[in-house]
């Protein structure tokens, strides 16, 4: 409850009381300031603040100037342009690239459908429009620089069209059936992509490279570790001592060692643990390790969520005669999982960032692609550009995911009752 007593001295007491009942949580409306007032208030309010502003301003200005001068003057970005495909799909054969496009179209169409059938209005205030158009222009400029091929351009145009078509169809056919279709579509999305990549003399996992590999490894880790993590969390809170002990031991051992050590485990030791004669490709073993590692963290997050559910909920569920399974599935888990959304998404962001570790154990992911790009004789000494570009792509994905999580949090009212 934010109240500014000083500014509202003249407000009648009843009005304050009424406000309190309505539980207004937004900040008091901002006063209109002239630019000069704003500068005085926000930058030079006290002597200390003035000194701070000058020092920080000089430092930030110099840094910004140096970075911009380097990025748009000194630095030669041809290495990134030349190797853009290497970044995205690595050594994936180009004549098979239609498989990736097909997967992309599927996902984009589905995103459109989901968005359309959710039927939420876009917010059209000036701030949003400006921010979105700036982002869109920056994105298009970046792509304009990176992509020459008219084929790729038309395919990307097609993606936008597919998205819009998805939104339209989703909005028109809104309802129960559409919701079911969307759900089924998401459930099938991952199998669909994997099948399309491999079907009819397709491309095996060894040549899923570049950003494609980061995305696939990340998605596998996220999708598989979610149910396993929930089971582990429930096991950890089980009333059976044997189950509890095993789950605690598993979770703590997995969390105790770094992901890198677990990946080495997957590379060096896992082949020996499998029954003789069974051989898994390295990439599958590594994805198993990603899943195992992530499951332990998901389990701890879910456990936190479970602890946040009031015990009255358990008692109420029991009182209406639900069995343990139904109580968990219908009453406890929905509440527990809702509370874990922020933590869960930030874990998934860090798992996605961690897929860059693939580079260190010999896979051609995006980071490795960056290293390969700057290793060629033609572009010697360009590792700043190549690494920064890989970082930029990771950053875009991670940053937009965290923004999305914040919005979701606000919409679902996490932390509010």
């Amino acid at each position: 409850m934010k109240r500014d007593w000083g500014a509202r001295e003249d407000v009648a007491l009843e009005a304050v009381a009424a406000k309190e009942e309505l539980a207004v949580t937004e900040a008091p409306s901002a006063r209109d300031l002239t630019p000069a007032q704003w500068v005085k208030e926000n930058l030079f309010s006290t002597p200390f603040n003035s000194v701070l502003s000058v020092v920080a301003g000089l430092l930030a200005g110099w840094l910004l100037y140096a970075v911009l001068r380097w990025a748009f003057g000194t630095a030669d970005w041809t290495v990134v342009k030349t190797n853009f495909r290497l970044y995205m799909i690595g050594r994936f054969p180009i004549e098979e690239a239609w498989r990736i496009w097909m997967g992309l179209y599927y996902v984009v169409l589905l995103v459109g459908l989901t968005w359309g059938q959710a039927g939420r209005r876009l917010t059209w205030d000036a701030m949003h429009i400006v921010r979105r158009s700036v982002l869109a222009i920056l994105g298009v400029l970046l792509l304009l620089y990176l992509v020459d091929s008219p084929l790729v351009w038309s395919l990307m145009g097609g993606l936008v069209a597919a998205y819009l078509a998805g939104v339209g169809v989703g909005r028109i056919g809104r309802g129960r059936t559409m919701r079911r279709i969307v759900w089924a579509g998401w459930l099938l999305a991952f199998p669909f992509v994997i099948v399309v990549l491999q079907i009819a003399d397709g491309v095996g996992p060894l040549r899923w490279n570049g950003f494609l590999l980061n995305v696939l490894a990340g998605v596998v880790g996220i999708v598989l570790s979610f149910p396993i993590g929930i089971v582990l969390a429930l096991g950890r809170r089980s009333s059976l001592p044997a189950v509890r002990t095993v789950c605690v031991a598993l979770i703590e051992v997995v969390r105790g060692a770094p992901l890198f050590a677990w990946l080495l485990f997957g590379v060096f030791l896992l082949p020996f643990l499998l029954p003789p004669g069974v051989q898994l490709p390295q990439i599958i073993r590594v994805m198993i390790m990603f899943t195992v590692f992530s499951s332990a963290y998901v389990a701890e997050i879910v456990r936190g969520g479970l602890q946040g559910v009031h015990f009255g909920q358990y008692e109420a569920a029991r009182a209406v005669g639900l069995s343990t399974t139904r109580m968990m599935a219908l009453v406890i888990l929905p509440q527990a999982l809702r509370n874990t959304i922020p933590a869960m998404i930030s874990h998934f962001i860090s798992l996605f960032k961690d897929t860059s570790l693939l580079a260190v154990i010999g896979f051609i992911d995006m980071l490795r692609a960056a290293r390969i790009a700057s290793a060629s004789v033609k572009f010697i000494g360009s590792s700043r550009q190549t690494l920064l570009f890989a970082a930029l792509i990771f950053w875009i994905v991670a940053f937009s995911m965290s923004r999305w999580s914040q919005r979701l949090e606000r919409r679902l009212g996490v932390g509010e009752r």
């Binding site: 934010k2 926000n42 930058l43 309010s45 603040n49 701070l52 502003s53 920080a56 301003g57 430092l59 930030a60 059976l240 001592p241 044997a242 189950v243 095993v246 051992v253 105790g256 060692a257 770094p258 992901l259 890198f260 050590a261 080495l264 485990f265 060096f268 030791l269 082949p271 020996f272 643990l273 499998l274 029954p275 003789p276 962001i349 960032k353 961690d354 860059s356 570790l357 580079a359 260190v360 980071l367 290293r371 000494g381 590792s383 700043r384 690494l387 920064l388 890989a390 970082a391 990771f394 950053w395 991670a398 940053f399 965290s402």
Partner: protein, 391 residues
């Protein structure tokens, strides 16, 4: 409904207590069976390749060299190599934790500054460093920042610090002969500080005047120590690093690899610590600050006596997990060939071919390190936790 209709005991297959015991036995048996199968598979596989599962190989000659760490040569044993790795990991982790805490605290407080510029610089910092993989950051620092820096300068040139592909060199204290005579002065200073503290507390209790005991006690300590410093004829020199025939001389020097890992870990973790600091200061109920204001405390007193103690209570558990993350992330040092535990282990696996034993050692070491950090942080937590809620 008659009472006889309810049997005194349910039959065995419906007795919950029996079912629970039975279910757990089955569960344990299944787990044991799976583990046994895995172990037998492994034993079979290794035996076929002629690899034993004992730890004797650790005494053999390693035959490879390591670029830095405690005394070690190619003739040392595998065991020695692993110890070098462990100590290097601890070096990186400890210095990383200290530096990341300082930077994170500064940026976290900056995020809440009333100064628009400071607030937004801090925010941009957090968003950039938090959302890019720490591995890319480490490689970037090493490959793109440190390696291209050549050591330029004349022989004998001194500077505040050097950063080049030769590593990082910073000033350090160097004791002169007879530096020990300063120690009694230092002790006397401490006694003086305690006395001043006690005296000011008494004055405050008796007269109610502000005690200012912390700054005054520090002043006493500093005065006595400075007097002793002069009396002992300047027992310490601040030694600036200098160039000597294309290498560093003087000061404290760390390798370029160490500096790369350290920068990467510190800048990355500091962004997370800053967010924790900010979140926990914001999480302190606003009424607490208002109450402190109403009691007439100054802004600094509000922060020190009311807000920070409560914020610390919220911040310690997540900061603990950031420390653990930093320690575990130090394994990424292997990507730029810094001989930490994981990098050395990888080499040992390639040379000696005993992945099982090595991975056991690695996992065990990290478990122990994590436990030490957690225990230390629990001690800190207990010091600030709410009375009555200690767990």
């Amino acid at each position: 409904m008659t009472e006889q209709a309810i049997p005194a005991r349910p039959p065995l297959w419906r007795n919950v207590r029996v079912l629970r015991v039975f279910g757990q036995i089955v569960f344990v048996l299944a787990v044991v069976y799976v583990l046994r199968e895995l172990f037998l598979n492994m034993q079979f596989g290794f035996r076929r390749q002629g690899i034993t599962l004992d730890f004797d190989f650790l005494q053999q000659r390693a035959g490879f060299d390591l670029s830095e760490g405690i005394a070690y040569g190619p003739n040392s044993s595998f065991w020695r190599a692993i110890r070098v790795g462990v100590i290097n990991t601890i070096r990186v982790a400890v210095s990383g934790i200290v530096l990341a805490s300082i930077l994170g605290l500064l940026i976290g407080v900056g995020r809440l500054s009333t100064n628009w510029l400071v607030r937004n610089v801090a925010r941009v910092y957090v968003e950039i460093f938090r959302n890019t993989p720490v591995l890319i950051q480490i490689i970037f620092w090493y490959v793109a920042v440190i390696l291209p820096l050549r050591l330029v300068g004349e022989d004998g040139e001194e500077r505040l610090f050097f950063l080049s592909n030769r590593g990082l060199a910073v000033p350090w204290l160097r004791g002169r002969p007879g530096a020990g005579s300063w120690v009694p002065w230092l002790l006397a200073g401490l006694v003086a500080a305690v006395a001043v503290w006690w005296w000011r507390t008494r004055v405050n209790e008796r007269t109610g005047r502000p005690h200012h005991r912390a700054p005054l006690a520090l002043l006493a300590l500093a005065a006595v120590a400075a007097a002793g410093y002069l009396a002992a004829g300047g027992p310490f020199d601040i030694e600036l690093p200098a160039i000597d025939r294309g290498a560093y001389a003087g000061g404290v020097k760390v390798s370029g690899e160490f500096a790369g890992v350290l920068f990467g870990l510190v800048f990355y973790t500091a962004a997370f610590i800053a967010e924790i600091i900010r979140g926990s200061i914001l999480a302190v109920d606003k009424g607490q600050k208002e109450a402190a204001m109403a009691m007439g405390l100054t802004r600094f007193q509000q922060l020190r006596l009311v807000v920070l103690p409560q914020a610390l209570r919220i911040a310690i558990p997540p900061i603990n997990s950031q420390y653990l993350n930093l320690t575990k992330n130090s394994s990424l040092a292997a990507a730029i060939a810094f001989p930490d535990l994981v990098q050395v282990s990888q080499t040992v696996i390639n040379q000696a071919g005993r992945p099982f034993q090595i991975i056991i050692i690695v996992m065990g070491t990290y478990l122990i390190l994590s436990m030490i950090i957690s225990v230390l942080m629990n001690v800190a937590n207990r010091a600030v936790a709410l009375r009555g809620t200690r767990r």
